[in-house]
Structures are given as C-alpha cells and as structure tokens.
Symmetry: C2
Subunit: 424 residues, 2 copies
C-alpha cells in the first residue's frame, strides 16, 4: 500500500510515449488553424485505457468501453460547427465508421460485386459460384479464391497503373452498394467526406493509461494556450483508476502453474484537479462518471465536482446510459465560470461550503443560475449545493434517437455562455 502519486510525481517517474512529440506538433498546427478560422475546439476522449501487467505486454487490465459515447458525440460536435480532437483508444469506435463497425452492421454486407460485360477476372468466378448451390457452391467458393494472393498482387499492380491513367473508369467489374443500404451510407459518407475536406477532425490514438495521461496533458496545454475559453473538454474515456508502476512490471509474460495470481496496483493520480488548475484553467471541462450502483452515482458526481473544481460531471449508469444521463453542476455556479461574487437569481449559492467527504478547496464562483428551475422546490432556507439535471430520451418511441445529440446540444449552449461570460 503506497501513497497515491501526485500528477507531478507521476510524470517525473513514468516514461513518456515515444510518439508524443510528433502528435503534439499535429495538435499545435490543428488548434492554430481552427482558431484562425474562428472555430471552437472540443477535445473528445473516448474508449478504455489498458494497464499492462508486463513490459512485453500479453496481459493487461482494461476498462469496459466500446467508445460509442465518444464517437457519437464527436459527430454531433462536428455538426454543431466545432472542430474536434478525437483522442481515442486504438480500435475503439470512431465517428462515421462507427455506423458500420463490428458485428452489428458489417460493411461487406452492404456491398455487391457487379460483373462487367468484358470482365474475365475474379468477379466472373464469383458470378459462376452464385449460379451453383449446395456442395458445388462450396467447391466454386474455394476455386474462386484459390489463387487469391497472386491475383491480389497482380490486381494491386494493375490498379496503381489504372489509377494514374484513368482513375474514374474501371473497365472490369464494379462494386455497388445494396439499394437498401444506399441512403444511409450516402448520408454518412457525404458527411465524412465534408469533414475531411474541411479539416475539422483530428484523430489521436492511445492504448495504455500512461499514453492517455501524457497525451491528455500535452494536448490540454496546447489547446489552453491558444484557445482560452473557446476550448471544451469532453472527457468520455474510461480511464483506469489503477496502474502498475513501470519499475514493478514483470519483464515477460507472467507464468501460470504457480497457483493463484496476485496483482497489486497503485492509484492513478487524480489529474483532473491539476488539469483544472494548471493545464486548462480557462477551458470548459466536462467529465463523466460511470457507475453500476445507482445509489453511488449522484454522491460520487457531487464529490468529483467539489474535489476537482471543473464545470460539469455527466453521470451515467452502466445499464441506462443509452437513454438517461444526469448533468451535475454547482448550484449558482453553473455557467458563471471563475468570476467570484456574481450573485444571480439563485441568490449566491454557498458553493464553497464544505459538504461530503471530498477534500475540496478550489471551487469558487457563484452566479446566474438560469437552469436552477430544474432543482425543483428545494429552494428555501437551505440553498442547494448542486444542481442535478436529468436528461432522458424515449428509445421505445424513437429507437433511432441518440442521447448524445441532446448531451452535445446542451453543452454547446453552456459553452457559448461560458465564452460570453469570459468576455464581460
């Protein structure tokens, strides 16, 4: 049992990822270009982090996260005119491609081979295979692919030539999208291509919790320096609370055959506090809290907000997160930022009064509470310390709806106010 590291000690003792400097240069260029274009920038973190148990990694601890929340939200931020730095776990879902990822909607099932009249390539073999059935089809199947690697190599050579001479007129077979998939794919693809053309999406990748922490610090500093209040932090990644310090990792794959396995992990430093104080002191910072025990969700969200002093905690329950989240903010302090003593309609909530077990300190700020209505009738002698605003959608009535659209919509409004308040 060792004391949790401070953020400072963590970065002083845990190795910096080799590719970080190159990534930071990409971020710097991106952020400046967006600022010059007058865009707000959101950092969306997404997916889980790993904690390697071995230096040559075979085993690792992971956090549950396919990256749906982050990838979906990134699309809605782009739609709202934001530039997005999408910092995600390798192989987790990404904006746009998420619609056709994994087993649910495999993209090969959207496509068909259309053999051209003059074609004598693989597409013909396929057409032949389709006219047969049963056992014969199986043979045809293996025939169709029996010279795949060599045909492939040839095809690749051919295609690079073709691309340089007549890029838009393939003379052999073509591939078409199945009619039923075409409208949706057209929409997704068009949006994707537009975003690419506009250059408003930058994708960064992490794997381990160490990658994540180093990258988050570096990206935050770049954003903060250039964007001030126009930067939004949307920290949806599922970050491990524990890690195995570099020096204590097993060099090679941990061997079984010696009975049970005992793993001891240290606590990851609570970098959100350092982030609020040092790396992104003007930014609008949204963190997420995922729990499986409903009774813990609100108390832990309150404690996080008090402890770290950022703007919003979005709480969600593992089993209800697709249709219900809760926005937790300090009462009165909501959206008013760092400007102290701006008493608003909520009447100067005691944002600094100690409550809960968390060792707060950096909270500050009371202000206009234009969303205080959602607190209900609690306003009386005792001022509410936090505002919990539930956001629910009816998936039964509208199964296509994505709650991220509402989450992003609300945050865009709050961030706009945050920016205005900073200009006063």
């Amino acid at each position: 049992m060792s004391e949790p590291f401070s953020a400072e000690t963590y970065f002083a003792t845990q190795g910096k990822p080799a590719s970080l400097d190159a990534e930071v240069r990409r971020v710097r260029e991106f952020v400046r270009r967006q600022r010059d274009a007058g865009r707000n920038v959101v950092l969306v973190t997404s997916g889980g982090t790993t904690v390697p148990l071995e230096v040559n990694v075979v085993r690792f601890l992971d956090n549950f996260s396919a990256g749906t929340r982050g990838a979906t939200s990134a699309e809605y931020f782009l739609k709202a005119g934001y530039a997005v730095i999408f910092m995600h776990r390798q192989f987790s879902l990404q904006p746009f491609s998420r619609h056709y990822s994994h087993s649910t909607n495999p993209f090969l099932d959207l496509l068909e081979v259309v053999p051209a009249a003059a074609s004598n390539t693989a597409a013909d073999a396929d057409a032949t295979a389709k006219t047969t059935s049963g056992n014969a089809a199986a043979d045809a199947a293996s025939t169709a692919s029996s010279d795949a690697p060599s045909a492939d190599a040839t095809a690749k050579t051919t295609s690079s030539n073709a691309a340089s001479t007549a890029p838009t007129t393939p003379t052999t077979s073509t591939i078409s999208v199945t009619p039923s998939s075409l409208p949706h794919l057209t929409l997704v693809l068009s949006t994707y291509k537009s975003v690419q053309a506009a250059g408003t999406l930058l994708t960064l990748t992490f794997v381990t919790v160490n990658d994540y922490l180093w990258m988050l610090r570096a990206v935050s500093k770049e954003m903060s320096a250039v964007l001030g209040r126009r930067g939004l932090w949307y920290l949806a990644a599922a970050v491990s609370d524990f890690y195995v310090p570099g020096g204590r990792m097993s060099e090679h794959k941990i061997q079984s055959g010696k009975g049970s396995l005992l793993i001891e992990m240290d606590q990851v430093p609570k970098i959100l506090k350092t982030m609020v104080d040092e790396w992104a002191d003007e930014g609008y910072i949204v963190s997420f809290k995922l729990e499986t025990d409903p009774a813990l969700l609100i108390p832990k969200a309150h404690a996080a907000l008090e402890r770290y002093g950022h703007q919003v905690v979005i709480g969600n329950d593992l089993n209800r997160r697709k249709f219900e989240v809760v926005f937790v903010e300090r009462a009165g302090a909501a959206q008013a930022g760092e400007s102290e003593a701006v008493a608003g309609s909520a009447g100067g909530a005691e944002a600094e009064a100690p409550a809960g077990k968390a060792g707060a300190g950096s909270v500050g700020a009371a202000g206009k509470a234009d969303i205080a209505g959602s607190v209900g009738a609690a306003a009386g002698k005792e001022e509410p310390k936090f505002i919990d605003k539930w956001l629910r959608i009816d998936l039964a009535a509208n199964p296509e709806r994505e709650i991220e659209e509402d989450i992003v919509g609300e945050l865009v409004r709050q961030h706009a106010k945050w920016i205005r308040d900073g200009e006063v």
Copy 2:
C-alpha cells in the same frame, strides 16, 4: 492460494452462459450439413478472453490479441475447402472484413459519393460542399449534415420501399469504390459472398473466459460426435490462465480512493487435457503457445504436448509471430494418432517417458515420422523426444505474404494423413 479446479469442478461451479443452448443448436445443424457434404470441419478459436473483476462488468483483465492469426487462418482454411466454425472474441478481427478493419484501412476511405443528375438529396449538398474550401467548407460540412437524423429516418423508409420495387436501380446518388481500391476489394468481396452462398462459415462469439470454456466444450462435443477424425481444432485464441471465481467477484464497480488495488485470481483448469481425453478424442488438435521470452518457447511447447497429449503445438514469439513459428510434435508419434506400438522409421520414440515437470500420462502413440528429417542430426543413441519444425517466411522480400497460408497448408496435409491413418 487455492488448488486449481479440475475441468469437472469448474463446470459444476461456474455459471453456464444464457445463450449457449441456442448456439449449440446452430453448431449441430452446421456440422451435420458439412458432414453430409463430405467436408472436413475446423474449429478456429480467435482473439483474447476477458476475466471480469466485477459482476456488473466495468473492469476486466484481458489478453493481448487482435485476432489476426485466427481471422487470417480461417480464410485459408476456407480456401482449402474446409468448413470453418469461427469462434471469436466479440469485436476481434473476422475473416474478410479484417482487410478493412480498424484504423489501418478504414473502409469509408475506399468509397466515394457519385451524385446522380436528377438527385436532390444529401449527395447534392455534399457536391456543393466539395466545391468550396477552407472555412466555407467547414460551414458546408455542418450544413450537409445538419438535418442528418431526420433525413436519415426518411431515407430509411424510402429505401425499404425502393428495395421491394426496384432493387437494382437507385435513382438518386450512388456510391462507388475508389479505383485504386477496386481490384482488392472485388477479390475479397467475391470470396466473402461465395463463402456465404456455400454456407461454409459459422461465426460464434465469446467475451469472457467463462463463455469461452463453456462454448469450447459444447462445440467440441458436437463436432466430435459427428466428425470423428475429420474434425480439426485450431485453438488460436489467447485464453486467460487465471480467472476470478463467480462467488468472489465484486458486485459493483470496485471503488478507488482506498489506496492500492489487490486482485487475486485462480488458475483456469487445463481443459486441453480433458478435451483430448473426453471431448474430442479422435480430433486433430492444434494448440498455440505465445511467449515473450524466446528461451521459454520450446521447453513450454514440449511440456504442453507431453502434458495434454494432443497433436501439435505451434509456438510463436510475440515479436516474431508474423514471420516465424515453430511446429512442435512428438517424434515418431507425429500424425500416427492413438494407435499404440506402431513403430515407424523414427524407431519408437519414448513418448511416455517422463520429462519436464508436467504430469503427463495420456500421451501414448509412436508411429511413422515422415517429417523426422527436420530434426537434424540428433538421431543417434538417444532418440529425440520431440520434433521442432521451424517455419519462416521472408517478409522483406514479399511483404504481402501471410504466414498463415503456410501454417494452414502444413496442417491440411497433416490432417489428411491423420484421417487416412484412422481408416487403416
């Protein structure tokens, strides 16, 4: 520190996955159909297994595996005329789609929207967006997607109607494949469609090590009962050696804030032994051994073969597995199966002599060693106990080559011999 469970105790105490019975019915139908069609069947397991630390899973231990070995091998087995049961970790790579998965080759980058003349849908908005650039393009981008959800809903309705009336003539915009990607995609897609038409690929999904163990047992029994020696087991999944027994799991997300985290895990029973003895006693069984310490690879492969009594261990080093593997078999016993006392050219190797720490016992079998030549000059007074056959490819000279093609080719030959030997 508790004694490792036997396989029997494991299944008696750890819960059966809810969907297992339905999966088994699919497997039963598949296996019988393939037998009737005269095909051999290979079970390919692929990807890593998780070990949940909580009942409501947020954290889990995982094994490194994208599933490349299994997904690639499955394609080559299909090509060789096998029917394939592809039992893989959810979201790990799959045959065919693997070529365009993840960040390396995202499929949306292969496609282009081609607006039709009469089109007044999203494709036109896209075309407009493309003619602009810089800041204007960004605005166009958000415009193009600004009514995405509603347009999407409309599009979906339209398309189902269109599909039932004129499925092959979309009247609005179309999507085409970029010319440079067309040849390769045509080949992959044609093969995929042929396999679908032939019905020779059955995909099963697992997540946890418990899912995996239950499924492996059930599928093995189904295969074994129907196929006898015509079943091949290709156990490429990276299965955890440790697990947290159901009764000892935390109900909810483990809370941080209490210092370090201590995890104690039990050993997973060595089910390969039970499999060889009980679930698949006539099958040809290939297991994999992945190590990061080169010095351990061969000794551990030998120990596994001796301990479990199956046919082949394919050993690979984490950093060399793309171009080098080693086939480890019992000398003399190679390919001869369970028939005892068939002394072959290798001279009746002492397959039952105790060696290593592993508690063997079920090994048996000595026979024709038509691949003993690869042992080298070790044949003298002391007979070699194992044959280690290295298989290497030259990726520098041929970067497109996949070592799985050679692995599968070798196994198909050995399995054919195994079947012939069983017919004598």
